[in-house]
Amino acid sequence: MIKEWRGNFLAKKIELKIKNSVEKFDEKNVWINPQKLHEVCKMLKEDSLFEFDLLNSLTSVDYIDHFEVIYHFTSISYSSSCIIKCKVGYSRKNPQIDSVIDLWRGADYQEREIWDLMGIKFIGHPNLKRIMLWDGFPGHPLRKDFVTYDQSIVTSRGGE
Protein backbone atom coordinates (compact mmCIF):
# COMPACT_ATOMS: atom_id res chain seq x y z
CA MET A 1 0.00 0.00 0.00
CA ILE A 2 1.07 3.58 -0.62
CA LYS A 3 1.42 5.26 2.77
CA GLU A 4 -0.23 8.67 2.94
CA TRP A 5 1.56 11.28 5.04
CA ARG A 6 -0.66 12.57 7.86
CA GLY A 7 -1.18 16.35 7.67
CA ASN A 8 -0.02 17.23 11.19
CA PHE A 9 3.07 15.05 10.96
CA LEU A 10 4.08 16.42 7.54
CA ALA A 11 3.44 20.01 8.65
CA LYS A 12 5.72 19.53 11.66
CA LYS A 13 8.52 18.11 9.52
CA ILE A 14 8.26 20.88 6.91
CA GLU A 15 8.12 23.62 9.58
CA LEU A 16 11.23 22.13 11.17
CA LYS A 17 13.21 22.39 7.93
CA ILE A 18 11.85 25.72 6.65
CA LYS A 19 10.53 28.26 9.13
CA ASN A 20 7.17 30.03 8.61
CA SER A 21 6.30 27.94 5.57
CA VAL A 22 3.13 26.19 6.82
CA GLU A 23 -0.05 28.28 6.90
CA LYS A 24 -2.35 25.60 8.33
CA PHE A 25 -2.97 21.87 8.15
CA ASP A 26 -5.68 19.31 8.71
CA GLU A 27 -5.94 15.51 8.68
CA LYS A 28 -4.42 14.93 5.24
CA ASN A 29 -3.57 18.32 3.71
CA VAL A 30 -0.92 20.93 4.41
CA TRP A 31 -1.35 24.53 3.23
CA ILE A 32 1.97 26.13 2.30
CA ASN A 33 2.76 29.85 2.24
CA PRO A 34 2.93 30.71 -1.50
CA GLN A 35 6.11 32.73 -0.94
CA LYS A 36 7.91 29.58 0.25
CA LEU A 37 6.31 27.09 -2.13
CA HIS A 38 9.31 26.58 -4.40
CA GLU A 39 11.66 26.22 -1.47
CA VAL A 40 9.39 23.64 0.18
CA CYS A 41 8.95 21.69 -3.08
CA LYS A 42 12.71 21.59 -3.61
CA MET A 43 13.13 20.27 -0.09
CA LEU A 44 10.36 17.66 -0.57
CA LYS A 45 12.06 16.42 -3.71
CA GLU A 46 15.65 16.34 -2.49
CA ASP A 47 15.49 15.65 1.23
CA SER A 48 16.24 12.01 2.04
CA LEU A 49 13.26 11.92 4.41
CA PHE A 50 10.72 12.52 1.61
CA GLU A 51 12.19 11.95 -1.89
CA PHE A 52 8.95 12.80 -3.67
CA ASP A 53 10.17 12.11 -7.21
CA LEU A 54 6.80 11.76 -8.95
CA LEU A 55 4.37 14.66 -9.33
CA ASN A 56 1.09 12.79 -9.78
CA SER A 57 -1.32 15.58 -10.30
CA LEU A 58 -1.37 19.34 -10.31
CA THR A 59 -4.72 21.09 -10.29
CA SER A 60 -6.55 24.14 -9.05
CA VAL A 61 -9.94 25.10 -7.60
CA ASP A 62 -11.72 28.45 -7.66
CA TYR A 63 -13.16 29.12 -4.18
CA ILE A 64 -14.51 32.55 -5.26
CA ASP A 65 -12.64 34.53 -2.57
CA HIS A 66 -9.35 32.83 -3.45
CA PHE A 67 -7.82 30.18 -5.70
CA GLU A 68 -6.22 26.99 -4.46
CA VAL A 69 -3.45 25.05 -6.23
CA ILE A 70 -3.22 21.36 -5.26
CA TYR A 71 -0.14 19.17 -5.63
CA HIS A 72 -0.22 15.38 -5.25
CA PHE A 73 3.25 13.92 -4.75
CA THR A 74 4.41 10.31 -4.63
CA SER A 75 7.74 8.85 -3.64
CA ILE A 76 8.47 5.73 -5.67
CA SER A 77 11.32 4.57 -3.42
CA TYR A 78 9.40 5.00 -0.14
CA SER A 79 5.95 4.18 -1.59
CA SER A 80 4.45 7.20 0.16
CA SER A 81 2.30 10.12 -0.96
CA CYS A 82 1.30 13.56 0.29
CA ILE A 83 -0.97 16.46 -0.63
CA ILE A 84 0.27 20.05 -0.61
CA LYS A 85 -2.09 22.99 -1.11
CA CYS A 86 -1.46 26.65 -1.70
CA LYS A 87 -3.89 29.58 -1.52
CA VAL A 88 -3.33 32.34 -4.08
CA GLY A 89 -5.04 35.37 -5.62
CA TYR A 90 -7.20 36.67 -2.77
CA SER A 91 -8.42 39.70 -4.72
CA ARG A 92 -9.03 37.61 -7.89
CA LYS A 93 -6.66 40.00 -9.63
CA ASN A 94 -3.58 38.48 -11.23
CA PRO A 95 -3.23 35.26 -9.20
CA GLN A 96 0.31 33.93 -9.49
CA ILE A 97 2.57 31.29 -8.00
CA ASP A 98 6.05 29.91 -8.56
CA SER A 99 6.40 27.23 -11.22
CA VAL A 100 7.85 23.86 -10.22
CA ILE A 101 8.80 22.88 -13.77
CA ASP A 102 12.53 23.07 -12.94
CA LEU A 103 12.00 20.34 -10.32
CA TRP A 104 9.45 18.14 -12.13
CA ARG A 105 9.20 18.22 -15.94
CA GLY A 106 5.74 16.67 -15.54
CA ALA A 107 4.39 20.03 -14.39
CA ASP A 108 4.81 21.42 -17.92
CA TYR A 109 1.44 20.70 -19.52
CA GLN A 110 -0.44 20.67 -16.23
CA GLU A 111 0.66 24.22 -15.42
CA ARG A 112 -0.19 25.34 -18.94
CA GLU A 113 -3.63 23.76 -18.55
CA ILE A 114 -4.24 25.60 -15.27
CA TRP A 115 -3.16 28.89 -16.84
CA ASP A 116 -5.45 28.27 -19.81
CA LEU A 117 -8.58 27.17 -17.96
CA MET A 118 -8.22 28.81 -14.53
CA GLY A 119 -5.97 31.78 -15.24
CA ILE A 120 -3.30 31.27 -12.58
CA LYS A 121 0.10 32.51 -13.72
CA PHE A 122 3.15 30.33 -13.06
CA ILE A 123 6.26 32.46 -12.61
CA GLY A 124 9.27 30.84 -14.25
CA HIS A 125 7.42 28.62 -16.74
CA PRO A 126 9.32 28.93 -20.04
CA ASN A 127 6.36 28.46 -22.38
CA LEU A 128 3.25 29.58 -20.51
CA LYS A 129 0.60 29.86 -23.22
CA ARG A 130 -2.85 28.44 -23.84
CA ILE A 131 -2.98 24.68 -24.43
CA MET A 132 -6.63 23.64 -24.95
CA LEU A 133 -8.16 26.89 -26.17
CA TRP A 134 -6.95 29.21 -28.89
CA ASP A 135 -4.91 32.36 -28.32
CA GLY A 136 -7.26 35.30 -27.94
CA PHE A 137 -10.00 33.34 -26.17
CA PRO A 138 -11.76 35.72 -23.76
CA GLY A 139 -11.45 34.69 -20.10
CA HIS A 140 -10.68 31.43 -18.32
CA PRO A 141 -13.62 28.99 -18.45
CA LEU A 142 -13.14 27.01 -15.23
CA ARG A 143 -13.50 30.15 -13.11
CA LYS A 144 -16.83 30.34 -11.35
CA ASP A 145 -17.61 33.80 -12.71
CA PHE A 146 -17.06 32.80 -16.34
CA VAL A 147 -20.07 33.62 -18.51
CA THR A 148 -20.91 30.79 -20.90
CA TYR A 149 -22.66 31.47 -24.21
CA ASP A 150 -20.93 34.83 -24.46
CA GLN A 151 -21.13 36.33 -27.95
CA SER A 152 -17.51 37.48 -27.76
CA ILE A 153 -16.37 33.82 -27.70
CA VAL A 154 -18.14 33.15 -30.98
CA THR A 155 -16.61 36.18 -32.66
CA SER A 156 -13.09 35.77 -31.23
CA ARG A 157 -10.61 34.53 -33.78
CA GLY A 158 -8.05 31.81 -33.29
CA GLY A 159 -4.61 33.43 -33.29
CA GLU A 160 -1.65 31.95 -35.08
Binding site: L55, G106, D108
Partner: protein, 370 residues
Protein backbone atom coordinates in the same frame (compact mmCIF):
# COMPACT_ATOMS: atom_id res chain seq x y z
CA UNK B 1 31.99 18.67 -50.96
CA UNK B 2 29.13 19.14 -48.51
CA UNK B 3 25.69 20.26 -49.63
CA UNK B 4 23.97 23.09 -47.82
CA UNK B 5 20.56 22.16 -46.40
CA UNK B 6 17.71 24.40 -45.29
CA UNK B 7 15.31 23.50 -42.45
CA UNK B 8 11.69 22.98 -43.53
CA UNK B 9 8.70 23.31 -41.21
CA UNK B 10 5.77 20.98 -41.87
CA UNK B 11 2.38 20.84 -40.19
CA UNK B 12 1.37 17.25 -39.45
CA UNK B 13 -2.30 17.05 -38.62
CA UNK B 14 -4.84 17.82 -37.29
CA UNK B 15 -6.43 15.68 -40.02
CA UNK B 16 -3.58 13.23 -40.49
CA UNK B 17 -4.71 9.58 -40.35
CA UNK B 18 -1.74 8.53 -38.19
CA UNK B 19 -2.25 11.06 -35.41
CA UNK B 20 -4.85 8.86 -33.63
CA UNK B 21 -7.43 11.62 -33.67
CA UNK B 22 -7.08 15.33 -34.15
CA UNK B 23 -3.56 16.16 -33.07
CA UNK B 24 -1.21 18.58 -34.71
CA UNK B 25 2.56 18.70 -34.65
CA UNK B 26 4.59 21.50 -36.15
CA UNK B 27 7.75 19.63 -37.11
CA UNK B 28 10.96 21.17 -38.43
CA UNK B 29 13.07 18.91 -40.60
CA UNK B 30 16.66 19.12 -41.72
CA UNK B 31 16.55 16.78 -44.66
CA UNK B 32 14.98 13.65 -43.19
CA UNK B 33 16.05 14.37 -39.62
CA UNK B 34 13.70 15.96 -37.08
CA UNK B 35 15.23 19.00 -35.41
CA UNK B 36 12.25 20.55 -33.63
CA UNK B 37 8.72 19.58 -32.63
CA UNK B 38 5.91 21.68 -31.24
CA UNK B 39 2.73 19.78 -30.31
CA UNK B 40 -0.54 21.69 -30.58
CA UNK B 41 -3.56 20.39 -28.66
CA UNK B 42 -7.16 21.31 -28.19
CA UNK B 43 -8.98 20.30 -31.35
CA UNK B 44 -11.20 17.89 -29.39
CA UNK B 45 -11.64 20.02 -26.26
CA UNK B 46 -15.23 19.67 -25.04
CA UNK B 47 -14.88 21.17 -21.58
CA UNK B 48 -15.78 17.97 -19.72
CA UNK B 49 -14.54 19.40 -16.41
CA UNK B 50 -16.82 22.42 -16.72
CA UNK B 51 -19.76 20.28 -17.90
CA UNK B 52 -19.36 18.08 -14.80
CA UNK B 53 -20.03 21.05 -12.54
CA UNK B 54 -23.64 21.15 -13.77
CA UNK B 55 -24.41 17.42 -13.61
CA UNK B 56 -25.22 15.03 -10.78
CA UNK B 57 -22.68 12.45 -9.66
CA UNK B 58 -24.41 9.62 -11.56
CA UNK B 59 -24.79 11.64 -14.75
CA UNK B 60 -21.05 12.36 -14.92
CA UNK B 61 -20.39 8.64 -15.56
CA UNK B 62 -21.54 9.24 -19.14
CA UNK B 63 -19.04 12.10 -19.51
CA UNK B 64 -16.15 9.90 -18.42
CA UNK B 65 -16.99 7.37 -21.17
CA UNK B 66 -16.26 9.97 -23.76
CA UNK B 67 -12.83 10.95 -22.47
CA UNK B 68 -10.72 7.96 -23.43
CA UNK B 69 -13.18 6.25 -25.73
CA UNK B 70 -11.15 3.05 -26.15
CA UNK B 71 -11.08 2.40 -22.40
CA UNK B 72 -14.42 3.65 -21.08
CA UNK B 73 -14.73 0.98 -18.36
CA UNK B 74 -11.42 2.07 -16.82
CA UNK B 75 -12.53 5.71 -16.87
CA UNK B 76 -15.79 4.70 -15.17
CA UNK B 77 -13.84 2.79 -12.54
CA UNK B 78 -11.48 5.66 -11.71
CA UNK B 79 -14.37 8.12 -11.42
CA UNK B 80 -16.52 5.78 -9.32
CA UNK B 81 -13.63 5.13 -6.93
CA UNK B 82 -13.26 8.88 -6.40
CA UNK B 83 -17.01 9.21 -5.71
CA UNK B 84 -16.95 6.27 -3.30
CA UNK B 85 -13.99 7.79 -1.46
CA UNK B 86 -15.79 11.14 -1.26
CA UNK B 87 -19.09 9.68 0.03
CA UNK B 88 -17.61 6.79 2.09
CA UNK B 89 -19.67 4.22 0.16
CA UNK B 90 -18.94 0.54 0.81
CA UNK B 91 -19.45 -1.24 -2.53
CA UNK B 92 -21.17 -4.63 -2.97
CA UNK B 93 -18.68 -7.50 -3.44
CA UNK B 94 -20.32 -8.92 -6.57
CA UNK B 95 -20.41 -5.45 -8.13
CA UNK B 96 -16.70 -4.99 -7.46
CA UNK B 97 -15.77 -8.36 -8.99
CA UNK B 98 -17.91 -7.57 -12.03
CA UNK B 99 -16.28 -4.19 -12.54
CA UNK B 100 -12.82 -5.72 -12.15
CA UNK B 101 -13.66 -8.23 -14.90
CA UNK B 102 -15.01 -5.42 -17.07
CA UNK B 103 -12.01 -3.18 -16.55
CA UNK B 104 -9.47 -5.94 -17.22
CA UNK B 105 -11.34 -6.84 -20.44
CA UNK B 106 -11.19 -3.17 -21.35
CA UNK B 107 -7.45 -3.08 -20.67
CA UNK B 108 -6.97 -5.99 -23.11
CA UNK B 109 -9.10 -4.21 -25.73
CA UNK B 110 -7.14 -1.00 -25.27
CA UNK B 111 -3.77 -2.77 -25.56
CA UNK B 112 -5.01 -4.55 -28.71
CA UNK B 113 -5.84 -1.16 -30.23
CA UNK B 114 -2.43 0.21 -29.22
CA UNK B 115 -0.61 -2.80 -30.69
CA UNK B 116 -2.65 -2.83 -33.89
CA UNK B 117 -2.18 0.85 -34.60
CA UNK B 118 1.52 0.72 -33.72
CA UNK B 119 1.97 -1.96 -36.40
CA UNK B 120 -0.17 0.05 -38.80
CA UNK B 121 2.19 3.00 -38.21
CA UNK B 122 5.16 0.70 -38.83
CA UNK B 123 3.81 0.06 -42.31
CA UNK B 124 2.19 -3.34 -41.77
CA UNK B 125 -0.91 -2.04 -43.51
CA UNK B 126 -4.17 -3.74 -42.68
CA UNK B 127 -3.56 -7.32 -41.59
CA UNK B 128 -2.24 -6.99 -38.00
CA UNK B 129 -4.68 -4.18 -37.30
CA UNK B 130 -7.61 -6.30 -38.46
CA UNK B 131 -6.40 -9.21 -36.31
CA UNK B 132 -6.27 -6.95 -33.26
CA UNK B 133 -9.61 -5.32 -34.00
CA UNK B 134 -11.21 -8.77 -34.41
CA UNK B 135 -10.32 -9.63 -30.81
CA UNK B 136 -11.49 -6.24 -29.63
CA UNK B 137 -14.84 -6.96 -31.30
CA UNK B 138 -15.14 -10.10 -29.14
CA UNK B 139 -14.64 -8.03 -26.01
CA UNK B 140 -17.11 -5.39 -27.17
CA UNK B 141 -19.68 -8.18 -27.71
CA UNK B 142 -19.15 -9.19 -24.08
CA UNK B 143 -19.74 -5.58 -23.00
CA UNK B 144 -22.93 -5.57 -25.04
CA UNK B 145 -24.14 -8.53 -22.98
CA UNK B 146 -23.17 -6.81 -19.74
CA UNK B 147 -24.71 -3.42 -20.24
CA UNK B 148 -26.15 -3.09 -23.75
CA UNK B 149 -23.50 -0.68 -24.98
CA UNK B 150 -20.28 -1.39 -26.81
CA UNK B 151 -18.10 1.68 -26.47
CA UNK B 152 -19.77 4.26 -24.24
CA UNK B 153 -20.64 1.74 -21.54
CA UNK B 154 -21.62 3.79 -18.43
CA UNK B 155 -21.77 0.41 -16.68
CA UNK B 156 -20.54 1.42 -13.22
CA UNK B 157 -22.49 3.19 -10.50
CA UNK B 158 -21.44 4.37 -7.02
CA UNK B 159 -21.34 1.13 -5.01
CA UNK B 160 -21.07 -1.38 -7.86
CA UNK B 161 -22.59 -1.81 -11.30
CA UNK B 162 -26.10 -1.09 -12.51
CA UNK B 163 -27.13 -4.62 -13.50
CA UNK B 164 -25.97 -8.20 -13.06
CA UNK B 165 -24.37 -10.13 -15.89
CA UNK B 166 -26.89 -12.32 -17.79
CA UNK B 167 -26.50 -16.14 -17.72
CA UNK B 168 -25.21 -16.22 -21.29
CA UNK B 169 -22.31 -13.95 -20.29
CA UNK B 170 -20.28 -16.53 -18.33
CA UNK B 171 -19.92 -19.25 -21.03
CA UNK B 172 -19.24 -16.53 -23.60
CA UNK B 173 -16.56 -15.04 -21.34
CA UNK B 174 -14.69 -18.31 -20.80
CA UNK B 175 -14.86 -19.04 -24.55
CA UNK B 176 -13.48 -15.57 -25.33
CA UNK B 177 -10.62 -15.93 -22.84
CA UNK B 178 -9.39 -18.97 -24.79
CA UNK B 179 -9.79 -17.15 -28.12
CA UNK B 180 -7.94 -14.09 -26.88
CA UNK B 181 -5.07 -16.19 -25.53
CA UNK B 182 -4.77 -17.92 -28.90
CA UNK B 183 -4.69 -14.65 -30.80
CA UNK B 184 -2.06 -13.18 -28.45
CA UNK B 185 0.05 -16.25 -29.26
CA UNK B 186 -0.63 -15.60 -32.94
CA UNK B 187 0.46 -11.96 -32.69
CA UNK B 188 3.58 -12.96 -30.81
CA UNK B 189 4.41 -15.66 -33.37
CA UNK B 190 4.20 -13.19 -36.23
CA UNK B 191 5.60 -10.11 -34.62
CA UNK B 192 7.54 -10.41 -31.36
CA UNK B 193 10.47 -12.14 -33.04
CA UNK B 194 10.05 -10.49 -36.41
CA UNK B 195 13.29 -9.19 -37.92
CA UNK B 196 11.59 -6.18 -39.53
CA UNK B 197 9.91 -5.19 -36.26
CA UNK B 198 13.27 -5.50 -34.48
CA UNK B 199 15.10 -3.29 -36.92
CA UNK B 200 12.41 -0.62 -36.89
CA UNK B 201 11.64 -0.46 -33.15
CA UNK B 202 14.73 -1.52 -31.20
CA UNK B 203 16.86 1.36 -30.03
CA UNK B 204 14.52 4.15 -31.15
CA UNK B 205 13.24 6.82 -28.77
CA UNK B 206 15.17 5.60 -25.74
CA UNK B 207 14.45 7.47 -22.53
CA UNK B 208 16.08 7.06 -19.14
CA UNK B 209 13.92 5.93 -16.23
CA UNK B 210 14.86 9.05 -14.22
CA UNK B 211 13.62 11.38 -16.93
CA UNK B 212 10.39 9.36 -17.28
CA UNK B 213 9.66 9.60 -13.55
CA UNK B 214 10.60 13.27 -13.52
CA UNK B 215 8.15 13.91 -16.36
CA UNK B 216 5.33 12.12 -14.43
CA UNK B 217 5.08 9.46 -17.14
CA UNK B 218 3.39 6.29 -15.86
CA UNK B 219 1.90 3.06 -17.17
CA UNK B 220 3.47 0.72 -19.75
CA UNK B 221 5.92 3.44 -20.80
CA UNK B 222 7.40 3.61 -17.31
CA UNK B 223 7.41 -0.17 -16.84
CA UNK B 224 9.23 -0.55 -20.16
CA UNK B 225 12.13 1.34 -18.56
CA UNK B 226 12.38 -1.04 -15.61
CA UNK B 227 10.58 0.96 -12.90
CA UNK B 228 8.29 -1.40 -10.98
CA UNK B 229 5.33 0.96 -10.63
CA UNK B 230 1.87 -0.53 -11.07
CA UNK B 231 -0.91 0.91 -8.91
CA UNK B 232 -2.76 -2.41 -8.93
CA UNK B 233 0.20 -3.81 -7.00
CA UNK B 234 1.49 -0.72 -5.17
CA UNK B 235 -1.84 0.68 -4.02
CA UNK B 236 -4.42 -2.09 -4.50
CA UNK B 237 -7.86 -0.58 -5.07
CA UNK B 238 -11.05 -2.68 -5.33
CA UNK B 239 -10.05 -6.32 -4.61
CA UNK B 240 -6.67 -6.34 -6.37
CA UNK B 241 -5.01 -7.24 -3.06
CA UNK B 242 -6.64 -10.69 -3.33
CA UNK B 243 -5.32 -11.25 -6.84
CA UNK B 244 -1.86 -12.46 -7.79
CA UNK B 245 -0.32 -11.37 -11.05
CA UNK B 246 3.12 -10.75 -12.47
CA UNK B 247 4.32 -7.22 -13.08
CA UNK B 248 5.72 -6.98 -16.57
CA UNK B 249 9.02 -5.13 -16.74
CA UNK B 250 11.51 -4.47 -19.51
CA UNK B 251 14.73 -2.51 -19.23
CA UNK B 252 15.40 -1.30 -22.78
CA UNK B 253 12.92 1.62 -22.63
CA UNK B 254 12.67 1.77 -26.43
CA UNK B 255 9.71 1.33 -28.76
CA UNK B 256 10.05 -2.45 -28.78
CA UNK B 257 10.01 -2.60 -24.98
CA UNK B 258 6.78 -0.60 -24.88
CA UNK B 259 5.17 -2.91 -27.44
CA UNK B 260 6.40 -6.01 -25.58
CA UNK B 261 5.16 -4.81 -22.18
CA UNK B 262 1.68 -4.22 -23.59
CA UNK B 263 1.46 -7.66 -25.19
CA UNK B 264 2.61 -9.41 -21.99
CA UNK B 265 0.24 -7.35 -19.86
CA UNK B 266 -2.67 -8.69 -21.89
CA UNK B 267 -1.74 -12.21 -20.76
CA UNK B 268 -1.63 -11.07 -17.11
CA UNK B 269 -5.06 -9.46 -17.52
CA UNK B 270 -6.41 -12.81 -18.71
CA UNK B 271 -5.05 -14.43 -15.54
CA UNK B 272 -6.64 -11.73 -13.39
CA UNK B 273 -10.01 -12.30 -15.09
CA UNK B 274 -9.93 -16.05 -14.47
CA UNK B 275 -9.13 -15.41 -10.78
CA UNK B 276 -12.06 -12.97 -10.61
CA UNK B 277 -14.39 -15.63 -12.09
CA UNK B 278 -13.28 -18.05 -9.37
CA UNK B 279 -13.86 -15.54 -6.58
CA UNK B 280 -17.20 -14.11 -7.66
CA UNK B 281 -20.23 -15.14 -5.59
CA UNK B 282 -23.97 -14.53 -5.99
CA UNK B 283 -25.41 -11.46 -4.32
CA UNK B 284 -26.59 -7.92 -5.04
CA UNK B 285 -24.51 -5.97 -7.55
CA UNK B 286 -25.00 -2.62 -5.82
CA UNK B 287 -26.16 -1.45 -2.38
CA UNK B 288 -29.87 -0.78 -1.95
CA UNK B 289 -31.19 2.71 -2.66
CA UNK B 290 -31.65 3.23 1.09
CA UNK B 291 -27.89 2.90 1.60
CA UNK B 292 -26.73 4.65 -1.56
CA UNK B 293 -29.43 6.90 -3.03
CA UNK B 294 -29.57 7.65 -6.74
CA UNK B 295 -28.79 11.28 -5.95
CA UNK B 296 -25.75 11.23 -3.70
CA UNK B 297 -24.93 14.37 -1.70
CA UNK B 298 -21.40 14.03 -0.28
CA UNK B 299 -20.21 16.05 2.69
CA UNK B 300 -18.07 19.09 1.78
CA UNK B 301 -14.51 17.99 1.12
CA UNK B 302 -12.28 16.62 -1.60
CA UNK B 303 -10.96 13.26 -2.77
CA UNK B 304 -8.38 11.99 -5.24
CA UNK B 305 -8.53 8.43 -6.51
CA UNK B 306 -6.21 6.92 -9.10
CA UNK B 307 -6.20 3.59 -10.89
CA UNK B 308 -3.73 1.90 -13.20
CA UNK B 309 -5.38 2.75 -16.50
CA UNK B 310 -4.39 1.22 -19.81
CA UNK B 311 -2.17 4.23 -20.53
CA UNK B 312 -0.95 5.15 -17.07
CA UNK B 313 -2.17 6.55 -13.80
CA UNK B 314 -5.73 7.73 -14.37
CA UNK B 315 -6.88 9.93 -11.51
CA UNK B 316 -9.98 11.91 -10.65
CA UNK B 317 -9.94 14.82 -8.22
CA UNK B 318 -13.39 15.78 -6.92
CA UNK B 319 -14.36 18.69 -4.71
CA UNK B 320 -17.80 18.72 -3.09
CA UNK B 321 -19.60 21.66 -1.50
CA UNK B 322 -22.44 19.46 -0.21
CA UNK B 323 -24.61 19.81 -3.30
CA UNK B 324 -25.84 17.26 -5.82
CA UNK B 325 -23.07 18.01 -8.34
CA UNK B 326 -19.33 18.39 -7.78
CA UNK B 327 -17.95 21.84 -7.15
CA UNK B 328 -14.92 20.97 -9.24
CA UNK B 329 -13.75 17.88 -11.12
CA UNK B 330 -10.25 17.42 -12.45
CA UNK B 331 -8.97 14.52 -14.51
CA UNK B 332 -5.34 13.48 -14.32
CA UNK B 333 -5.17 12.36 -17.93
CA UNK B 334 -2.28 9.94 -18.61
CA UNK B 335 -2.44 10.51 -22.38
CA UNK B 336 -1.70 14.23 -22.01
CA UNK B 337 1.04 13.86 -19.43
CA UNK B 338 2.74 10.98 -21.31
CA UNK B 339 3.29 13.44 -24.18
CA UNK B 340 5.51 15.66 -22.00
CA UNK B 341 8.71 14.16 -23.40
CA UNK B 342 7.50 13.98 -27.02
CA UNK B 343 10.07 16.54 -28.15
CA UNK B 344 12.95 14.67 -26.47
CA UNK B 345 11.78 11.41 -28.06
CA UNK B 346 11.51 12.80 -31.57
CA UNK B 347 14.43 15.20 -32.01
CA UNK B 348 17.27 13.45 -33.81
CA UNK B 349 15.10 10.67 -35.24
CA UNK B 350 14.10 10.22 -38.85
CA UNK B 351 10.78 11.15 -40.44
CA UNK B 352 9.92 7.49 -41.03
CA UNK B 353 10.05 6.80 -37.30
CA UNK B 354 7.96 9.81 -36.30
CA UNK B 355 4.60 8.07 -36.25
CA UNK B 356 6.05 4.86 -34.82
CA UNK B 357 7.36 6.78 -31.82
CA UNK B 358 4.11 8.66 -31.58
CA UNK B 359 2.16 5.40 -31.73
CA UNK B 360 4.34 3.77 -29.05
CA UNK B 361 3.20 6.41 -26.54
CA UNK B 362 -0.35 5.06 -27.00
CA UNK B 363 -2.47 8.14 -26.55
CA UNK B 364 -6.07 8.93 -27.16
CA UNK B 365 -7.04 12.40 -28.22
CA UNK B 366 -10.37 12.25 -26.39
CA UNK B 367 -8.41 12.09 -23.18
CA UNK B 368 -5.66 14.53 -24.15
CA UNK B 369 -8.10 17.35 -24.89
CA UNK B 370 -11.07 16.29 -22.73
Amino acid sequence: MSLETRPVTVNLGPQHPSTHGVFRMRVTFDGEEIIDVEPIFGYLHRGSEKLAEERTYSQIVTLTDRMDYVSSMLNNQAYILAVEKLCNIVPSPRGVWLRMIASELQRIASHFVATGFLLQDLGALGTPLIYCMRERENILDLFEMLCGARITNSYLRPGGVFMDAPDVFWPALSRSLGDIEKSIDEIEDYLSGNEIIFSRTKGTAVLSSESLVNASITGPMLRASGVDWDLRHRNPYDYYSEITFKRILHTASDNYARYWVRVQEMRESLKIISQCIKNIEPGPVRPSFDDVPRLVRPEPGDSYAAIEGSKGELGFYLVSDGGISPYRMHVRAPSLINLTLLREMLVGELFGDLFVIFGSVDLNMGEVDR
